[in-house]
């Protein structure tokens, strides 16, 4: 009896080691079909975007997920943030299991920063408004304090000149940095970034990568989906090769750049490096 209790204690303590942990997560979805103007899911065309994925992220970790498009990387990230609810498996944020029923997901999401591939700023709000909104409505900060923190976050990502601009008036790089500031301002436990630069042209990509590099230096915990290989090599502690809904290989950047263990990863790296050098 006493031994069992001890066992449980150890399990709890072990969980809290990680900022975020996924255990055997599955997620599949049907292809959307449109019938009579209603969008529904075609259950015959099931896409298994996440199949038995487990991963752990410690405080200060920077991990990079990469792999072919359509392999389910975005779905995985969305599951981690509980923007998509996994079909099976557990997601932990610190020692709280988010996949348990009855968990206040809004509260949990407030502790997770999320940066979207297509940016998704609030279109009716200025840069300042975009960052302030959650500080006011979620963290319930007083007006002055929310404003100060929002301005600090915008300055940190070097877009303080955009404070009163609306999303449609910003360049893609500025907008994405506002997106990062929005995720950052709440001091989240972890920031999940879903291909933050893939919708931007090369010049703007540089601005955003610089911002991410700064965050990395400050020890921000991040899980990034990206194919920016020089950046990955520089900041990532671990790279995760993801294909067909599974983690195929994990390891430090040197492993992938020198000699990946799996054939699939090797081919993929070859292609990416060829493309990068051509550019």
């Amino acid at each position: 009896m006493g031994k069992q209790k001890k066992e449980e204690d150890r399990v709890v303590r072990k969980m809290a080691e990680y900022v975020m942990e996924a255990k055997h997560v599955y997620k599949s979805y049907g292809k959307p079909k449109v019938k009579k103007g209603e969008i529904s899911l075609d259950t015959k065309l099931v896409v298994e975007a996440v199949r038995d994925v487990s991963l752990q992220i410690r405080k200060g970790d920077i991990k990079l997920v990469f792999g072919p498009s359509g392999s389910g990387k975005s779905t995985l990230l969305r599951c981690l943030a509980m923007l998509d609810i996994p079909d099976k498996g557990q997601i932990y944020l610190g020692d709280e299991e988010l996949t348990k029923s009855g968990v206040d997901l809004n509260k949990a999401r407030a502790r997770i920063g999320f940066v979207f591939q297509h940016i998704y700023l609030f279109r009716h709000l200025t840069a300042l408004g975009n960052v302030e909104l959650a500080l006011r409505k979620v963290l319930k900060l007083p007006k002055e304090e929310a404003r100060k923190r929002a301005l600090d976050a915008l300055t940190e990502v070097k877009v303080s000149d955009c404070v009163s601009k609306y999303p449609s008036q910003m360049s893609g790089g500025q907008a994405q940095r506002v997106g990062i500031a929005r995720a950052l301002a709440r001091n989240p436990d972890i920031i999940l970034l879903d291909e933050p630069t893939s919708a931007l042209d090369p010049e703007l990509t540089g601005e955003v990568i610089d911002t991410l590099r700064d965050l990395a230096k400050e020890g921000t915990t991040m899980l990034i989906v990206s194919h920016e290989m020089p950046f990955a090599r520089e900041v990532a502690e671990e790279m995760i090769f993801y294909d067909e809904g599974r983690i195929l290989e994990t390891g430090p950047p040197s492993q992938f750049f020198n000699a990946p263990n799996t054939d699939r990863a090797k081919k993929f790296m070859d292609r990416i490096i060829k493309r990068t050098t051509r550019e």
């Binding site: 809004n106 979207f116 279109r123 009716h124 909104l133 409505k137 979620v138 609306y166 995720a183 709440r186």
Partner: protein, 223 residues
Amino acid sequence: MFEWLLNPMFQQMILEGVLLTIEITLFGVLLGLGVGTLLAIGDIYGNKPVKAAIAVYVEFFRGGPLFVQIFLAVYTLPTLLNLQIDHAILAFLVFGLNSAGYQKGYIKSSMEAILGDQMQAGLSVGLSKAQTVRSVILPQAYRIVIPSWTNEFCSLTKSTAVLSYVGLMDLVGAGRSILFRNMEILPVWIVVAIIYLAWITGFSKMMDIIYEKKKIPGIELSA
């Protein structure tokens, strides 16, 4: 031809008619906006029974003649409920609920135009669904809906003509009782038409100004 306009009694009738028309349309269109918004939200997020109930509501108010709805409300409802309710209040309620049937459609389609990514963004920063609808979706949807809303207002204003059938003296009712007295058929209707035209034009212009003032770069119908 128009000398009857100098008659203080006729002036009084026209003025009261104008006021009733304006009151009922303004309150009606605002009630319609509130109820229409709730219906739109229910239709997007509600479960099957809620959606079915909303469909019945919309078909009832949009499919049946407004005149019959007013008639039922004013003559049948008080008897059924065994209550004395002011006709103007009943008429105002019917106008609002009827308008909600139309406005639900405008608001829902505006919301759906912006819902996908903006809901994701709202949830991602920790807002609840309801908070996101309130602070993110509706402020954008209302901006987009203003032009269709102005149309709804114009058509509702002219629908007030049916009020005279239940003994309420709106502008058309006032016109009719004036011409029963002076038989100046064409001049009376010309005056009534000019008043409608002036009020609707003025109001539409005001809404245009509000639309331009509230416009945010990047949030437009054509965008």
